[in-house]
């Protein structure tokens, strides 16, 4: 019966709930960015921040056009394109090391004319496509062994390693968690899962000792004990919690949050926009915002469950997972329950590459949703 009804549908239909959800977050994000960038403190930083939200509008417009483009082409074409895109992404990640611009000790950017972009952001989408393709093609029904998952592991570890080398802990975490979330859709042997968990447990201390940079370790130690480091990274986390707490039930009001207005929030437009929002709008407004993110994630799962093939379902889960992990980490670090790792809040944080990636990802989701 169900199948019958779907087969009679006339062409692709825009997924209105998804569209409305995205537009709502984008709107709140822009309003919030305006608040975050018009601060009292001093004329110099006011001038510096003034055009940030205008730039963000440009990026959103460009991102929306790209999203429409992405959504317009049947997603099944992407399955064939996935390896090409993935390879291109890897090449640009490699280029970062050659052409990369050094910002605060890590090179994440490539300068193209007057634009600087972050290849690692777009790589998120290429990785999702690649893993979706893997899931799509491995359609056996019996539980898989670790050996069966080896190719996927390779697709994951290549970009993770490249990004870790930049070094960018946050993005590599996102790669890892998003891809694992997608693979979790498949049946894997209990034994394999156990051994994977064991390996992880062993490799974490090793990574701590040999792979992670000092400043990354510092962020984690200061997360575990923020009081010990009140001036550095721990200070950011504490000020952010103060800002959120200061919002109380109804908030200080639009552009009235003192923690933001008086310059106590570092990176208030990129890393801590959530704190700005919470301080301005309070518990009521913030619960609404969190609910919007939860809605997008659950809607992605809903879209996946409705998808007509494994590629579409995996794609939807991948995009949902990407949004999910970004939101959880960014909000978690703003509230002091997760370490400060520099992960953006989707559609809220300022940043061209981030906005474009998120909007194109949501375009993919829309694509799947329209063709179920």
């Amino acid at each position: 019966m169900l199948g019958e009804r779907i087969s009679f549908r006339r062409g692709p239909m825009v997924d209105m709930p998804l569209l409305l959800g995205v537009v709502a977050i984008l709107t709140l994000g822009l309003v919030n960015l305006y608040s975050a960038t018009s601060v009292y403190i001093d004329d110099e930083s006011r001038a510096r921040l003034a055009d940030i939200y205008v730039t963000q509008i440009y990026w959103i417009v460009v991102g929306a056009l790209l999203a429409i483009l992405v959504a317009a082409i049947d997603y099944r074409h992407y399955e064939r394109l996935a390896p090409v895109l993935y390879a291109g992404g890897m090449v640009s990640l490699g280029l970062v090391f050659i052409l990369g611009r050094d910002i605060r000790g890590s090179s994440r950017w490539i300068q193209l004319g007057s634009f600087a972009f972050q290849p690692s952001e777009f790589m998120k989408l290429f990785l999702i496509l690649m893993i979706a393709k893997f899931v799509h093609n491995d359609s056996r029904t019996e539980p898989r062994t670790l050996f069966d998952l080896a190719p996927a592991a390779l697709w994951i570890l290549l970009p993770v390693a490249a990004v870790m080398a930049q070094p960018d802990l946050g993005t590599s975490l996102i790669y890892l968690l998003t891809a694992i979330s997608m693979l979790a859709m498949m049946r894997v042997r209990v034994l394999s899962v156990l051994s994977l968990v064991t390996t992880g447990a062993i490799s974490l201390p090793l990574a701590w000792m040999y792979v992670m940079r000092d400043y990354q370790k510092h962020r984690i130690t200061s997360f575990l004990n923020p009081e010990a480091d009140k001036t550095g990274t721990g200070w950011h986390a504490l000020q952010s919690q103060t800002a959120i707490g200061n919002g109380q039930l109804t908030g200080e009001g639009f552009m009235q949050g003192t923690q933001n207005q008086f310059g106590f929030l570092p990176e208030q437009y990129s890393d801590f926009p959530f704190a700005v929002f919470s301080e301005d709008w309070g518990f009521v407004g913030t619960v609404f915002l969190i609910a919007l993110y939860a809605f997008i994630c659950i809607w992605a799962i809903h879209v996946a469950s409705q998808a007509k093939d494994r590629f579409g379902a995996a794609l939807a889960v991948g995009v949902g997972a990407m949004v999910f992990w970004h939101a959880i980490f960014n909000i978690g670090m703003a509230m002091g329950v997760l370490p400060v790792v520099g992960i953006t809040l989707p559609l809220f944080s300022y940043g061209g590459s981030s906005v474009l990636t998120m909007l194109m990802g949501l375009g993919l989701l829309m694509n799947v949703s329209m063709r179920r």
Partner: protein, 641 residues
């Protein structure tokens, strides 16, 4: 279609879990959000307010010090300093304009330009970039006016007012009034909890130090919102973020009225012109109040209090501390000198009280007194002298002879009766006790046996006997007033800044010296004779019409002065101290005056004229004040000239 569907069947059971995980994860975040905003909200709001609110302290004003007639001796004036912010200032346009009005020495200019360049070279996010440097202190009014009218064009230049202590009479009475100094680290630690901060000024000596806690007042504060304080009107922001109370008004310091008469000090200063070093004290015979005190050389408290900047203070102290005449020493209170012949009246009183001599008994002075194997020299050959003429002519032989009858302990005890050898309790500046040597003191001091010669020296105020100028003045006041020894006072009353008297200090008697009034009047008439009789040691220097009594003194400083050398040509520091101690008027005395001129030579020739002049001026001032109280013309007539 159905085949394709079965493909995704594998995922079906996963979706429920994914939804569960999603809901759970966001649920945890909302739980944490509730904890931060609803449960701990007040704590965080308090912290957020604390972040943006600053307490600015509000300066208080130090109390004013006035003299007995209400003249201001120490007050406050605004002083303007120019600061620049090197990271902001424009070296091409602003800097030359500033230099045109704020004149700097070439080396100063070079040093500041170097500093500016250093700070401008710092990276953008360095906190030191925002620092200010001092360009010049205490700039003139017209410079302030220029900088303030052109404030808008002169970015990075700031004029800040700061109160500076101001002493209108400069050096006059500086030792008693005192001066201010910046609190040092040691003082900050000692005064912990009394609200002193680095950069504060604190009274260094004199009244400024002793009455610091009354004079200084109490700082207030007001809360401000950080960072926006200099912007537009902030009434709205203030009302929103600042909790009551937003302000605590400062309490101004107490004003202090002294017993000093600055006009009298000024006339002493005039009378002391031409003298290198010395001290003068005038006390009120009937109350023990200090009417005037002058210690020479003096210093300008305006300079050492920082009115001309920190550099000037350092330079001034370097000069003051290396001066052999010790300008920073209060010679009226903190120094003790051998009293010389000015001590003779006390020796006479002791001998009379013990009935060791008859005032009319005569001693033959033939230039000295033989005692044991030694010959004690007199100032001349006086022939037959009795008690009266011995004081009038200051005959040493007579007093050596008295000394041979007295014990040294008796001489010390009469000294203690008149307040020598102990602190007077004036309460300002460290006091010199002076010394009344006793037999036991000599045996402790010198290993050899006590010799009678020491008593002879004590009898003429030499030997180990020392007194402070203030002690001598109070003891002469006691002779003048019939034997009442007062505790000296400098502070007359304490008032609030609006003039209400908070505390008033009535005179305090230390002791009544037990004296036979006949003996006292004998000494008083001899002291009158010193000035008024033809053979008196101060007769030559008397000013006709000035009625006073007193005693001259020439105190030996060192015994190495070769004999037969012209006393005027002895090396300065080997010369004798010149003394005059007395009171006026002779009949019903009102003031006692003591003058010492360090290494001034003979007392009659050098110290007495100073005392006479001061007494003359004092009489004139008294007359003027009396006539001012009873105006000769009724005030109504002024219009009909």
């Amino acid at each position: 279609m159905l085949v394709q569907r079965s493909d995704v069947g594998e995922f079906r059971q996963r979706y429920r879990w994914l939804v569960l995980v999603t809901v759970l994860a966001f649920g945890i975040l909302i739980g944490r959000l509730a904890q931060l905003q609803l449960i701990e909200g007040d704590v965080h709001r308090a912290q957020a307010r604390k972040n943006i609110v600053r307490e600015r302290s509000l300066a208080t004003t130090r109390g004013v010090i006035r003299d007995a007639n209400g003249r201001v001796l120490a007050a406050n004036r605004p002083s303007y300093s120019v600061h620049i912010t090197p990271s902001v200032i424009d070296l091409e346009t602003t800097w030359p304009r500033v230099l045109k009005v704020v004149r700097l020495e070439d080396f100063e200019r070079a040093a500041i330009e170097k500093k500016i360049a250093e700070i401008k070279a710092l990276p953008k996010d360095d906190k030191r970039r925002s620092q200010q440097i001092l360009l010049k202190v205490d700039v003139d009014r017209d410079v302030v006016a220029f900088l303030e009218t052109h404030e808008k064009e002169l970015d990075g230049v700031e004029v800040t007012p700061a109160p500076v202590r101001y002493y209108p009479y400069g050096e006059l009475g500086a030792h008693v009034i005192g001066y201010m100094q910046e609190v040092d680290a040691e003082a900050l630690e000692r005064l912990d909890g009394r609200g002193y901060r680095a950069g504060d000024h604190i009274g260094a000596i004199g009244i400024e130090r002793r009455w610091e806690s009354y004079l200084r007042g109490q700082r207030g504060w007001r809360k401000i919102v950080r960072g926006v304080s200099r912007r537009e009107s902030n009434a709205e922001i203030d009302a929103k973020y600042l909790e009551e109370p937003r302000r605590l008004e400062p309490i101004p310091g107490r004003d202090i009225s002294l017993t000093l008469d600055i006009d009298l000090v000024s006339s002493i200063d005039k009378a002391m012109r031409g003298q290198l070093a010395g001290a003068v004290v005038v006390v009120d015979v009937r109350t023990g109040r200090l009417l005037a005190a002058l210690s020479k050389p003096s210093f300008d408290p305006n300079v050492v209090s920082g009115g001309n900047g920190v550099k000037a203070v350092r330079e001034a102290f370097r000069r003051l501390n290396s001066d052999p005449l010790k300008p920073t020493l209060d010679k009226t209170i903190s120094a003790a000198y051998p009293p010389g012949s000015t001590y003779k009246p006390f020796t006479a009183l002791a001998a009379l009280a013990d009935r060791l001599t008859d005032p009319d008994r005569e001693v033959d002075c033939h230039g000295g007194f033989e005692y044991g194997k030694r010959f004690f020299r007199c100032t001349g050959v006086h022939r037959k002298v009795n008690l009266h003429s011995a004081i009038v002519q200051s005959c040493n032989t007579y007093f050596y002879e008295l000394g041979s009858r007295l014990s040294i302990d008796r001489l010390a005890s009469i000294g203690l009766d008149f307040g020598f050898g102990v602190k007077t309790g004036i309460g300002v500046n460290p006091e010199a006790r002076g010394r009344m040597p006793t037999r036991s003191w000599y045996t402790r001091r010198y290993k050899e046996a006590f010799r009678g010669g020491f008593t002879l020296l004590s009898a003429i105020g030499q030997g180990a006997t020392t007194v402070s100028v203030l002690q001598l003045a109070l003891s002469y006041a006691a002779i003048a007033n019939g034997g009442t020894l007062y505790q000296p006072q400098v502070v007359r009353s304490i008032e609030t800044s609006d003039g209400t008297v908070v505390q008033d200090f009535p005179p305090r008697v230390r002791r009544m010296v037990e004296l036979d009034q006949d003996h006292l009047s004998m000494v008083q008439s001899a002291l009158a004779g010193v000035v008024n009789e033809r053979d008196g040691t101060a007769y030559k220097e008397r000013i006709p019409g000035v009625d006073m009594s007193g005693k001259t003194g020439t105190a030996q400083v060192s015994h190495v002065t070769p004999r037969g050398v012209d006393p005027d040509r002895v090396w300065y520091f080997n010369r004798d101290h010149a003394w005059f101690a007395g009171y006026a008027p002779s009949k019903s005395p009102e003031i006692a005056i003591v003058v010492i001129i360090e290494h001034g030579g003979g007392g009659g020739k050098n110290a007495a004229p100073v005392a006479m002049r001061v007494v003359r001026d004092w009489e004139k001032m008294k007359e003027k004040r009396v006539s001012a109280q009873t105006p000769p013309h009724p005030p109504g007539k002024r219009g009909s000239l």
